[in-house]
């Protein structure tokens, strides 16, 4: 089982719904966010292109954050979801330094926090909060090992890219282009 997410940049309008839904679902404190939107503009008026990306932790297959954790608080859950056990975390910040996507942050309560692929929902067969709320339905989530899952079908016939592949982390967020 390998959970992954696909983001269709041809449809994302950068509305930020995924950001707010994650906050209300996961009780993220104000001023912090587990996912965010990046806007990229290329060209000169009027030959322009624009891309919106809804980004979050990539739940990498080769995650540097799990490797560098001295206490094992950062660990891999079912389906490759990278997770943090708060009461094992000492707040040393090594994992934050090791993430090339800057997906982690130091929660005001002291431990390190980040996107959890809504593990508590996935375990009940639901999708993540961001995928469920997206008005343009540009987010797809599911099991890559299942050829009929939402995410497998999404990346099947489309060209896609991942972020910072040269970092060697094998990220599991696929941006459909």
């Amino acid at each position: 089982m390998r959970y992954a997410m696909a983001i269709d940049t041809k449809k994302c309008v950068g509305c930020g719904d995924c950001v707010v839904a994650c906050q209300t679902e996961n009780n993220v404190p104000h001023g912090y966010c587990r996912d965010w939107i990046v806007e990229r503009v290329d060209g000169t008026y009027p030959s322009l292109s624009l891309e919106f990306r809804s980004e979050r932790c990539n739940h990498c297959d080769n995650s540097p954050c799990v490797r560098c954790c001295p206490t094992g608080a950062s660990h891999i859950e079912e389906g490759g979801i990278v997770s943090v056990t708060p009461h094992k975390c000492i707040g040393c910040g090594a994992c934050i330094q090791s993430c090339p996507y800057d997906a982690r942050y130091s929660h005001p309560d002291g431990y390190v926090d980040k996107c959890t692929f809504c593990l508590h929902r996935v375990q009940k067969g639901q999708k993540t909060a961001c995928v469920d709320v997206c008005p343009t339905k540009c987010l797809h989530f599911g099991d890559l090992d299942d050829p009929n899952s939402d995410v497998s079908l999404a990346i099947k016939d489309r060209s896609w890219k991942v972020l910072a592949p040269e970092a060697g982390t094998k990220p599991q967020l696929y941006f459909l282009t």
């Binding site: 966010c33 206490t71 094992k88 975390c89 707040g91 993430c99 090339p100 910072a164 060697g168």
Partner: protein, 313 residues
């Protein structure tokens, strides 16, 4: 024109616009760790070479600094933790892939060793010193008998400690400035140099100082050599590496790095130590102070600048 920006208001404290999770505590820890490593290495080295008597400060007196430095360093590290109540979780597991874990366990080994080393010379330094307990007296005798073996162990762990302070940073390839294997050896050499500087400063024996100064000079030259290679490596690398190097070649850290670290921390001490070897009189404390200052500034700047460099955005 290319624009890439956050449009969902992301402004996480200490992460945006630049990473700023580690402040002065980590550089201080790295500095003190390197310093202690240097002192302990040379203490062990000269015992193995049989030069205990000639290098009295190196072997017997300066090592007092080592445990103090290590404890202070550990305390700084503890202060840096954001989930302090759970610090003990560090010692519930050994994770070979985690440099932080390496550091925790290495320190766990070398700190007691440094205490034992100092303790084994207590009778020589403080006349009339008595351990009061019988088993401690027996233990002291055991240590003194096997001092050479202890010296070897100490030298090995000192090297591990010295190199580890650099590897801790270079393991984080996500920060382009630290993504180079030169950092390990560089921090090792720098640490040994600061250790030597401390011993030179403390020593009253001119001969001892001369021997150590010569060794220190070699280390400083190696350091300069490694720094040059560091920059050559960055400038030949990817865009993020070049940007990282540019922080020091025209960017915000240019003055502080080249003045504090290179000129004051390396070149001037080398100059003064050379002059001293040639017989000219130089204030005894000047080169060591400059080296120590340069050593700390080096680590401080590397940690600050490294967090500013990032892969994306």
């Amino acid at each position: 024109m290319k624009e890439e920006l956050f449009v969902s208001g992301r402004n996480i404290p200490n992460i945006d616009p630049y990473l700023n999770i580690w402040h002065w505590q980590i550089p201080l820890y790295l500095f003190l760790g390197g310093l202690a490593a240097g002192i302990l290495f040379f203490a062990g080295y000269f015992v193995v070479r049989g030069k205990e008597k000639e290098m009295k400060t190196t072997v017997k007196i300066a090592p007092i600094i080592a445990p103090i430095a290590l404890i202070l360093g550990l305390f700084a590290l503890f202060l840096d933790l954001k989930h302090k109540l759970f610090f003990w979780q560090l010692y519930t597991t050994i994770r070979l892939e985690s440099p932080m874990g390496w550091g925790a366990w290495t320190l766990m080994i070398i700190t007691p060793i440094s205490f034992i080393w100092v303790a084994s010379y207590m009778k020589e330094l403080i006349p009339g010193w008595n351990w009061k307990f019988d088993f401690l007296e027996k233990f002291e005798a055991f240590v003194i008998k096997h001092r050479v073996s202890l010296a070897w162990i100490m030298m090995i762990y000192a090297i591990i400690l010295g190199v580890y302070t650099g590897i801790l940073l270079s393991a984080f390839n996500a920060r382009p400035l630290w993504n180079t294997s030169i950092l390990g050896p560089l921090f090792l050499v720098s640490g040994f140099s600061t250790g030597l500087a401390t011993i030179i400063w403390m020593s009253k024996d001119a001969n001892e100082r001369k021997i150590l100064s010569r060794i220190d000079l070699v280390f400083i030259i190696i350091e300069i050599f490694l720094i040059v290679h560091l920059f050559m490596g960055f400038l030949a690398g990817s865009e993020t590496a070049i940007e990282a190097a540019n922080l020091f070649l025209g960017g915000e850290f240019t003055v502080s790095f080249w003045v504090f670290v290179v000129v004051i921390g390396l070149i001037f001490p080398a100059l003064f130590e050379t002059l001293e070897i040639w017989g000219m009189h130089v204030p005894k404390w000047l080169p060591p102070v400059m080296i120590l200052f340069g050593g700390f500034m080096f680590r401080f700047i590397m940690v600050e600048a490294g967090q500013i460099t990032r892969y994306l955005y």
